[in-house]
Amino acid sequence: MGTALERSLGIVLPLLVAFAIAAIVLLTIGENPVEILTLMATEAFGNVRRFAATLSASTPLLFTAVATAICFRSGVFNVGVDGAFVLGGLAAIFIAFTLPASIGVGIIPLAFIAAAVTGGLWLWLPGVLLAKYEADEVVSTLMLNFIAAGISGYLVNGPLLSPQSGNNVTPLIHETAELERLMPPSTLHAGFIIGLICIIAYWTWCRNTPSGFEGAVVGQNPRFARAVGISVPAVIILVMVLSGVIAGFGGASHGLGQMHRFSDGFSPGYGFTGMAVALLARNHPIGILFGAVLFGALASAGTTIQLFSNIPLDLVNIIQGTVMIFAVIEAARLMKNRRRQTHAV
């Protein structure tokens, strides 16, 4: 697996290129790139508090990247993780403010189960459509994201609207249902630990279970998989449901640990950033961990760098955008293979 791990560190090159471009931009506007980039690094990793903020920002990405990688690894181009994240989060928050607070911490596992079921069912649908009817999963999952946004938007403006609040938010969850903060005052919460567990579980599944093995074979060559007796439709549905479950966990973690209520804009594109992480990491768990932390660092450094310099947040956008271009190249490479395979069948 040495080589796979090396490839998974493919995030290093994009990052170097991104920093080079950022440096050029800084030079042209007459700033000292070394100074600014050092400031950014300090803001992301400089001390325990800043590091905690970085990890906090990376938490949702751990889940969405794993959820994406599970599917991409099997050649299933699921781009619907964002929708499952949002609806999973909404389901968990709903449980966490409607059930009686007297249940205590027991609400937390119930909320996570609700989120997993919601996310799993949500992506089960495009999984079945792909496995049984060969409906293009890119289209179906992308569309489901809009539907998820629509459903959650309706619910938080209608039936689930908080009576104490103007618009767009649900009531706050019970305090007992909140995930514990690991390093107050930072927002880093126990969801980060759950995310790490998900990464380890994903790794174990890949390496040490027959269905994980089948997932890899289907991703490498579906025709071969079919010929040796692996049920390709069953694998497709399985990875879609697993992806939905992990995405749902992500939503629950974000809802119970970070937001404590659901509001419009619950996910500022975590699903898509997670996809970039999975692509750059080539689905490898270690790469996913690094990638998620790096994207988290950019996000947390970006928010504070505006305060301490006259560099606008857009610098971070430039860096993220450059890294994204590499992710898109990787995506295009996968898509090309995918097309070739569907034609070969």
Binding site: R207, N208, P210, R226, V228
Partner: protein, 461 residues
């Protein structure tokens, strides 16, 4: 064919057009000299109308000013219609290409080449995709073309078509011209003899043990396929224990479909029984559990997962059975051990089990496929083109593996385009042509000419 098209350069020899020596470096050159090719796969944009397809790439323009030019549609239609009438084709130019029947698309291809001034047309197995009625229409059209002075190079495996259409015939075998005659002066038998002639050297059929009880029986197997005319009609075969049944046939006559139906990769009707157990309703994995093993003709895409590791390739399919799959877990140590055992059993040389399988030679790749397939002690081996792309030593090893499998009481369905191989190994040979079994030959070694005739003349024998 590719040389005439300018796709490949000749190593020697010359091409003359109208007595002038020409040198083609690309397909455009060939077109400029009036040589056009109708491919087996049509160059058609399915979303456009037939007229749009006709002029695609060479649109007649009204006002020539770069990207602002106007396409002169009436002119295009007139040109197309004139050519169509000239050769006797009825074409609805406004029809969507996706909805047009295959032979009409073929006509549009031909008219497109004529419009570009082609006087020599190369047709590569044009009838492979056509229904019999459409073939008749195509032939009428080709005869018209001939009377109008177009030279036709008609490539076909079917002797009946050649004798019906051509003036002269040339037999090419393994890149060499072995026979040339005018059609009027030779018979179909003579042509077919030349096609298989080279394979008539003495091949010893070692004494195969007499087949015992019937193991695999296939009764009236039928299948259809969407984009090929060669489906399977009413295939009935039986194979006994300790028997190798050879399937001979010209490439693309339903061999792959037959193998896929038996393995469960392609839906089919009819009855397939293994040891009296009906397999017809079972999926590939269930059929494997009943003892079917499969050597795919397409080693690079189906027989192997070419980018995956040697280990993955040699254990795939056994990953759920103990000791690899155990209690819901995958025992990677057991997996490695089994992979090594299987590779060692067949004496396959490799560096490391994690290396991609593409690092092995063709022969070793195919031996690896055998290692995987026979490791589970199957009863029936469906071996499709097992020695394709394998070096001589590898061929010998694979033949021995097939014999060993037979000697251990297994039944083998051996599909091959190599007659030598079929005759050397098979107890009996069944000949497939256009999706039907046209006959079964006992004692194949002494009946080679008969097999050859059945292969190329189909049921007409």
């Amino acid at each position: 064919m590719r040389l005439l098209q300018g796709v490949e350069r000749p190593d020697g020899g010359e091409i003359f057009v109208d007595g002038v020596r020409v040198d083609f470096t690309n397909p455009g050159d060939a077109l400029r000299h009036g040589i056009g090719m109708v491919h087996q796969e049509f160059m058609i944009a399915p979303d456009l109308s037939l007229l749009e397809n006709l002029v695609l790439g060479e649109e007649p323009v009204k006002r020539s000013c770069g990207p602002l030019s106007w396409i002169d549609w009436p002119a295009a239609r007139n040109q197309g219609q004139a050519l169509a009438e000239q050769i006797g084709a009825l074409i609805d130019w406004d029809q969507h290409a996706a909805n047009a029947p295959v032979h009409i698309l073929q006509f549009v291809e031909i008219i497109r080449l004529l419009r570009r001034g082609c006087r020599t047309l190369i047709l590569d197995e044009p009838t492979a995709v056509l229904a019999p009625v459409q073939v008749d229409e195509l032939f009428t059209l080709l005869r018209n073309l001939r009377t109008q002075g177009t030279a036709l190079l008609f490539i076909s495996h079917k002797i009946g078509e050649v004798t019906a259409l051509a003036d002269e015939v040339t037999v090419i075998r393994q890149g060499e011209t072995v026979f040339h005659s005018s059609v009027a002066e030779c018979t179909a038998d003579e042509i077919s003899r030349h096609i298989v002639n080279g394979e008539l050297h003495d091949v010893a059929n070692d004494e195969a043990p007499k087949p015992q009880s019937e193991l695999l029986s296939i009764a009236s197997l039928n299948t259809r396929s969407v984009n090929r005319s060669h489906t399977l009609h009413n295939i009935s075969l039986t194979i006994g224990r300790g028997e190798i049944l050879g399937i001979a046939g010209v490439s693309g006559n339903g061999q792959n479909e037959l193998a896929e139906c038996l393995v469960g990769l392609r839906p089919s009707s009819g009855l397939v029984k293994l040891n009296g157990i009906a397999l017809s309703a079972l999926n590939p994995s269930q059929r494997r559990r009943h003892g079917i093993a499969y050597i795919s003709a397409d080693r690079r895409h189906e027989g192997l997962s070419i980018q995956s590791s040697i280990e993955t390739n040699v254990v795939a399919g056994s990953h759920r059975t103990s000791p690899i799959g155990h209690g819901g877990w995958l025992n990677r140590a057991a997996m490695r051990k089994i992979a090594q055992d299987r590779l060692q059993a067949l004496d396959i040389k490799y560096d490391g089990p994690s290396d991609p399988v593409s690092s092995l030679s063709g022969g070793n790749q195919q031996k690896l496929v055998f290692a995987r397939e026979i490791a589970t002690a199957p009863q029936v081996l469906i071996a499709s083109q097992p020695t394709r792309g394998v070096d001589l030593n590898g061929i010998a090893a694979i033949h021995q593996l097939i014999r060993d499998f037979r000697d251990s009481g297994g039944a083998v369905l051996l599909i091959s385009e190599e007659l030598d191989e079929l005759i050397e190994l098979s107890t009996r040979v069944a000949v497939i042509a256009e999706g039907t079994i046209v006959g079964t030959v006992n004692a194949p070694a002494s009946n080679l000419p008969l097999i050859g005739r059945m292969m190329v003349q189909g049921a007409a024998v």
